[in-house]
Amino acid sequence: MAKLSLQRLGKRFAQTVILKEIDLDIASGEFIVLVGPSGCGKSTLLRILAGLEEADEGQVILDGRSINRLPPRERNMALVFQDYALYPHKTVYDNLAFGLSIRGTQKHEIQQKVHAAADLLQLTGLLQRKPAALSGGQRQRVAIGRALVREAQLFLFDEPLSNLDAKLRTEMRMEIKRLHQRLGKTMIYVTHDQVEAMTLADRIAVINHGRIEQLGTPAEIYQFPATTFVAGFMGAPPMNLLTLPLQWSAGNATAFIAGQALPTHPLENTSEKEITLGIRPEHLRINDSTLNGQPGLLLNAAVELVEPLGSETIATLRLEQPTANLEQYTVQARFPGNQSISNGQNLQVHVAYANLHWFDSNSGIRLTTSQASSAEQVA
């Protein structure tokens, strides 16, 4: 059991506000992934949970009890530090064993657990080495192992796979997922890797400037980004965001793109002059049969840059405007890898109206549609 509830957490360093009004309820056994730009406060949040930093405001409630003043060792949490923080004077074996022996575990049990963890993390041959004699990726795995050997009730990971090569990263990601399924422990995981976030999370919290910008399942975050920030943060390449001019007549707004009028989402504020349109790169299609008869937008574009990735091709397109004095838009599109595309080529791309995302240009907040409203928690 480890049900965690963060209530209006706030943290400042000197005068700088690092975390602001963080509210987050985490169910026992849930896998929460924290994502956000560098410096947004992810590590600070984990350190507050682990008891290494004190929150200036708010409460951390664990299983109904405030743990704000509980020292780290009594929280029974394990943290994989972003900078590893291994014990340099101890061998890998002793690094893994230290937490167990300090808590009075039997020697044969320690041995068994350390070897099991070493096996899982492919460290068996390195157990007698000191950290200085390990590569960055090996050190990182020792750091993971040190957290995993202990039967903590809550696991905190701070970018645990950042220093591994692509193959090992995939393997370790799967191991962590398996481990979570097997142990059923609550896990909070910080990452910059979108694939990790999407594949591991029960829910993702997108943090920006010390606030939770959106909290939701990976699908909700991807399909219904609550703000332009989330839309631009998740997805590679990110969602195309275009600022379009609005024209008002009789209280109805119409946006214009490439000379075409576009029905927009109903707007409350009738003084808006602009609106932001979001289109995922994969929703731009060359072959209009993929629209399947859905109503959609048809755009003429010139190919500016082609990046073939094998299974798919990322193309940068410049949209054709009817007159030269209008704003120029470039978008990124993701086409199937077998589609032949070359620089300078002129294309027609389609996008279904159903796949258009609308945002308020000033606040960046999504203009809510009923189907998405449950997914959103706008900060």
Binding site: Y87, H89, I102
Partner: protein
């Protein structure tokens, strides 16, 4: 190119300045009184023998002095280390206010001329009933070494990344356990350096030893060696032999510890 010879000259000066007196004492300890009085002076002993050493041990209880010095130096060093560890930890890890002021005061205390403390110390030790016991020296020696040992340890503690200690506390250590099981071992070179400083400080000290602890049974080497001179005689070769006996254990100690003062103990723990 010009720098190189200059550097060598400087090194030579330091070496001669440091080694020559020690070498001279060593050579003298193998000479006779008569040879010593000869002019021109001889550099190497003409009939080297151990007779001065035999005299050094038989004329005075040199072994007893050695034992006393060792006990006093060891105990005061341990006491200093214990106190300095706590002080250094508090100065580096707890968010103390007036940290700078405390450090300055610490240095200021170390600057006090010992002679000014002689009378008050004597009164205190008499009050405590410690005159002519080890205790009369152990306490003041420990206090004397405390500032510099604290500064040395503090500078080493500062090098231990905070997250390593945090990791230990998450692993289940109390603050004190993290200090003794993680921070201190990682500061081993600092601990050795501080130990040597404190030990040498006690080993060499004469003024307090003479004033507070001159009883035949508990007197330390510096006081003991003074006793070799008679009212009208000054047996240089025997005194030299006793001095060599006093220096050698210290030299061995320093060499042994020096081996362990390796740097880079904290590398590998933290990324980058």
């Amino acid at each position: 190119m010009l720098k190189l010879p200059l550097r060598w000259i400087a090194a030579a000066v330091l070496l001669i300045n440091g080694f020559f007196p020690a070498l001279w004492i060593l050579l003298t300890s193998f000479k006779s009184d008569i040879e010593l009085a000869q002019t021109p002076i001889t550099w190497l002993p003409q009939n080297p023998g151990l007779s001065n050493y035999i005299h050094a041990f038989s004329d005075q209880p040199l072994l007893l002095f050695l034992g006393n010095s060792f006990a006093v130096a060891l105990l005061s060093t341990l006491l200093t280390l214990f106190a300095a560890t706590g002080a250094a930890y508090a100065l580096t890890r707890l968010h103390l206010r007036h940290r700078g002021l405390i450090l300055t005061l610490l240095v200021a205390v170390a600057m006090f001329p010992p002679a000014t403390l002689l009378v008050p110390l004597f009164e205190i030790m008499r009050g405590l009933g410690l005159i002519n016991t080890y205790g009369a020296l152990i306490l003041p020696y420990a206090v004397q070494s405390l500032p510099v040992c604290t500064l040395v340890l503090a500078s080493f503690f500062q090098q231990v990344p905070k997250d390593i200690e945090n990791a230990a506390m998450l692993d289940g250590c109390t603050r004190l356990q993290a200090l003794y099981r993680i921070v201190l071992p990682l500061s081993a070179p600092g601990v050795f350096t501080a130990s040597i400083l404190a030990f040498v400080n006690s080993w060499d000290e004469f003024l307090l030893a003479l004033t507070l602890n001159a009883a035949p049974g508990s007197r330390t080497l510096p006081v003991g060696i003074m006793l070799y001179q008679g009212e009208f005689t000054f047996p240089w070769p025997v005194i030299s032999a006793a001095l060599v006996v006093a220096i050698v254990p210290l030299a061995i100690l320093i060499i042994v510890f020096q081996e362990r003062v390796i740097s880079g103990l904290t590398t590998g723990g933290i990324k980058g």
